[in-house]
């Protein structure tokens, strides 16, 4: 067996879970789907003394409709989110991105919230949640606090979740009228972490100009990275061909990725800029198709 020894906790309520986390804080890790944590244990990159398995907490495995949007609690598997026809209709960007997350065998166990709590910037869901301006509900023995996605991701594999806290759910609004999203990524093999990726949401005014947008890069910085210069450029435009070319150039200048064995820095930068152009183009196309419909 590969994981190091740990004391296993299987709390039956959120209060029990946060009590254990309060007691052991830095020495404890939360286990949800385990698709990132178990490899870390098996490589012995992590060796927590206590593992808090939240899989038996009740009432956290169903996608919920809220007043203005959606709530995905901690035990909703990625596969369940991918296959929800209501969620796919309401927030197509999420379903589009989920198909790129590893493989079905991983998505059957892996949770939406787990991917966010793990906080790998090459993963799909963190950048999507920033694009959706999502809010994280973080629970502790003191209650529940909300953290916006822009503040949630702090560094590589580091989020705003404190050691004594637990990510209870992620919430986001249903995109309003004339709002469209797109996700683009490139990975060396199907299901791999991407070399670069981007999640885009844009709201258009009645005349077809971008009223506001979020353009988020994945895999090129220690966190999902908002490309604010690209956002500024796109806002007010109709995302015409000239704007897309300019957006690519701006995106190229706005990121400073690191190179690694899979791709050097210059290639990643170029790749990201092309993906940004394509995603913005896809958003424009979706708007045009909705006009035609």
């Amino acid at each position: 067996m590969k994981p190091p020894r740990f004391t296993y906790h299987a709390p039956a309520t959120v209060d029990e879970a946060t009590a254990v986390l309060t007691e052991h804080a830095e020495d404890a890790k939360v286990l949800a789907g385990g698709q990132s944590l178990i490899p870390l244990l098996s490589f012995r990159l992590a060796a927590p003394e206590h593992l808090v398995d939240i899989n038996r907490l009740p009432g956290l495995d169903q996608i919920e409709r809220t007043g203005q949007g959606w709530r995905i609690p901690a035990l909703v598997r990625q596969r369940a989110a991918e296959r929800s026809p209501e969620l796919a209709a309401g927030v197509p960007l999420l379903a589009e991105a989920l198909r790129h997350v590893a493989h079905p065998q991983i998505r059957n166990r892996g949770t939406v919230c787990g991917s966010l709590a793990h906080g790998d910037s090459s993963a799909e869901l963190p950048s999507v949640m920033v694009a959706l301006d999502a809010r994280m509900s973080v629970a502790s023995a003191n209650g529940v606090r909300q953290v916006g996605a822009d503040d949630f991701f702090q560094f590589h594999l580091t989020t705003a979740i404190e050691p004594h806290e637990l990510l209870l759910a992620v919430e986001f609004d249903e995109p309003g009228p004339r709002t469209f999203g797109a996700f683009q990524e490139f990975a060396l093999r199907r299901g791999d972490f991407c070399l670069a990726g981007t999640a885009v949401t844009a709201t258009f005014d009645a005349d077809g100009s971008v009223e506001r947008c979020r353009v988020v890069a994945a895999g090129v910085a220690p966190t999902p990275l908002r490309l604010t210069a690209v956002e500024e450029l796109a806002t007010g435009s109709e995302l015409d061909a000239a704007t897309l070319v300019a957006a690519q150039e701006v995106a190229c200048r706005e990121v400073s990725p690191l190179g690694d064995a899979r791709a050097d820095a210059a290639y990643r930068r170029q790749l990201l800029s092309v993906l940004v152009r394509r995603a913005l183009g896809a958003v424009r196309e979706k708007r045009e198709n909705s006009d035609a419909a």
């Binding site: 020894r5 296993y8 385990g34 593992l51 079905p104 065998q105 059957n108 166990r109």
Partner: protein, 170 residues
């Protein structure tokens, strides 16, 4: 400091139904489902390749869903129904998918085969696989390093056609 636990002192009791048969066991919390199946239940058809969720050789079905058994603790399967490659054949009678693998030379050394069979079995229960592209998608979560995938794609399409009565596009 690591807690002082050894050999069952942190023993987790679990009850799991494997291939329709109930098993009760005591295991360390850190034991993966793959190790539990292989060591405690002697079901060694579930193979371990990479042991970190990449190769797919350890794929089993838990409550009907294909999962990596190296990325799940045995104790998390308490109360679950597990299917392993040993459950596919009926005695000496191979399942239609196993027959199709045989017919199409879809295995060579066989190390990865059990994982592929379980991934494909889960996919075909969900619905037909009608195109080569869909078949490749079904296979994409498992790695084979000797035979390659051409025979497996044929096997998937043939089995789907048998099971779902759909014509496979070639």
């Amino acid at each position: 400091m690591q807690p002082d636990v050894h050999d069952g002192i942190d023993g987790q009791v679990l009850r799991v139904i494997v291939n329709g048969k109930e098993h009760r066991g005591v295991t360390e919390a850190r034991t993966t489902l793959a190790d539990f199946l292989r060591r405690e239940l002697a079901l060694t058809g579930t193979h371990l390749g990479c042991e970190h969720g990449v190769c797919g050789a350890c794929t089993v079905l838990v409550n009907g869903s294909a999962v990596r058994s190296c990325l799940m603790l045995a104790v998390q399967a308490d109360g679950a129904e597990v299917e392993t490659v040993e459950g596919l054949a009926d005695g000496n009678e191979l399942s239609p998918l196993q027959e199709a693998f045989h017919r199409n030379h879809a295995l060579q050394c066989g190390f990865c085969t059990g994982g592929f069979l379980m991934s494909i079995t889960a996919a075909l229960r969900e619905g037909p696989v009608e195109t080569e592209e869909e078949a490749r998608e079904v296979l994409s979560g498992n790695i084979c390093r000797c035979t390659g995938y051409a025979g497996m794609i044929k096997a998937v399409l043939e089995t789907s056609e048998q099971a779902h009565g759909t014509k496979a596009a070639s």
